[in-house]
Amino acid sequence: MENTLKELINNKGNLKIIGVTGSFGKTSTIKILSDYLRKIGKRCVVYSSLGIDAFGCDEDEEVEIAIYNLHSVINAFKRAYEIKADFLIFEVNEKTIDKGYLEDIPFDIRAITNLYPRHNTLEYTENEYINIKQSFFKNINEESICIYGDLNKQLLEEFLSLNNNDKKIISTNFLSNAYGLDKEIIDYLVMPKESFDSLSGLNFLIQTKKEVYELNTSLIMPFNALNIAMAFSIVDTLDLLDIKLLNEVLQDIIIKGRCEVVKEKGRIVIISVMCMPHLEILKKYKERGEIKSLKILTGSYGAGFDTWDEIYKSDKYKKYISGSMRLAYNYIIKNCDFVYITTSDNAASDIDELINTQVEEVKGKISFKAISDRKDAIRAIIKESNVGDCIFINGRGNRKVFCKSKDKIDYYSDIEI
């Protein structure tokens, strides 16, 4: 298989290969980037957790890991050659790097959105996590341009020292001040406009070495400004920037399951994979009068589905889930008005036990309702909502596989309900 991959790489020709890694924002960045590239008429093959371009796969069908093995990489290249793609874009997570599947790929651009060392403490220590992410930038092909996003000063210096390749740096006014970064080194500086963020979207500026650009998007979470800046920097580096077209893409963009907003009958429904820092942002919008009440639907994961990796059957995982759940509910109690407690991939765990454990976290601290069937819970939170409510459906994003017992699955996404 390695020989097949070498042969495919040798035939790269004009195909441009982009890899985006980071703790958060990879998927969103890639979505913005690929939507824009397609808008300007470029053919793209995308392998991200939002979907992969492979036989039988719907590009909008969520995958658990975009690059699962060497086979995935080979498939991606084959597909790129089949459609004579201009770009092959990979979402690069730590497991993919760790297993070495992308070692020999001559990326034209390597980007890191941000890095939170405690992002995956289930599988890696902080140092291991940092080292893995850094290895994506070590011993790399000369022509690869490296783009660095939200990294604190120490991490940025470490990353900058990993290679002698051309590099670009993204930051914001706020972050560069907070990290003590010299603004001279920043290639893309994000600056909020007066009415930066609201439920209607974001308005901000990106200052490059030559010009200042205005950007407007329907995306509502402020951190998306950095994801947009990352996509902007990649497009600019490729010398393909058309700010008008980029803004057109940003106006209509939908990133499935990543703070996907549905407005219906005076309510706002948000489908999301995670709730931090989203809920405190929505609370801020509520304090401004944009939302009347913030309600969340969430559920704890179970353990031990038959086909899950061994780590998800371990005691370590059960402790991890318990800790995460406590953290999440403390956060929810601080920021929300009501919580609907349900399940999310209960797998082999006892559903009643899962529900009761969650109820114990919130009893007496916030109004709640517990409904074990997730579909029923979604229907209930919508039906029992009022005009002006923001309904946050948390935990699954656009995931469709629902492990409802030890070995049985259901197949639906939250937004379908």
Binding site: F55, V63, E64, H71
Partner: protein
């Protein structure tokens, strides 16, 4: 044309085909499958099993006289909806039973198209006669031959199931289409 005879084929007391054929030639088989009609989450098909002349099966060759044949129908009931297969470590596990009930025992092979090429796929069937419904229950196991399938992703397949009257699969009755989805899960999401 002189020398030809008129052969009529009736289904449900309605004339379905009206032909002129040459005696001694192979009788035009006129196979058909109608359906599906969907009710109660089931797809109902009517498959021509035999043409009958009275109680006897129609001959293989065109007779010397004008003849009428009536249909002997095999009803086939297939669950509606997409068939889910869970892929794990090279094995495929069907998420639920796939039971197809029919008036007569049937035999199957299956394929799907990939880039315009038909790819055979595996289908096996255990047949039980269920006297309480007077039907043959086919307990089907389906697995997709797709060397490019990627674990962690979901792939959708349109599978064509060929239906045969005989175990050796020489007497084809027709084809039906199944929607199959293969997925895998290695963890509880992000």
């Amino acid at each position: 044309m002189s020398g030809e005879v008129n052969i009529k084929y009736y289904d449900n007391n309605t004339l379905k085909y009206d032909t002129n054929q040459t005696p001694g030639d192979e009788l035009d088989e006129k196979k058909f499958i109608t359906g599906p009609t969907i009710s109660n989450s089931e797809k109902h098909y009517r498959i021509l099993y035999n043409w009958l002349h009275g109680q006897l099966t129609a001959p293989i060759l065109v007779p010397k006289v004008n003849s009428n044949y009536t249909s002997q129908i095999c009803e086939l009931i297939v669950p509606d909806g997409t068939i889910m297969i869970l892929y794990f470590n090279g094995k495929q596990l069907m998420d639920d039973f796939l039971l197809m009930n029919a008036t007569y025992p049937l035999y199957f092979s299956a394929y799907y198209y990939k880039n315009g090429i038909a790819c055979e796929t595996n289908i096996s069937s255990h047949i039980h006669f269920r006297s309480y419904m007077n039907k043959y229950e086919h307990d089907i196991t389906l697995s997709i031959n797709d060397p490019d399938y990627q674990e962690g992703a979901t792939s959708n397949y349109t599978v064509y199931v060929r239906i045969y009257k005989d175990h050796l699969k020489t007497k084809k009755l027709g084809e039906i289409v199944l929607s199959v989805r293969m997925t895998s899960t290695i963890g509880p999401g992000e």
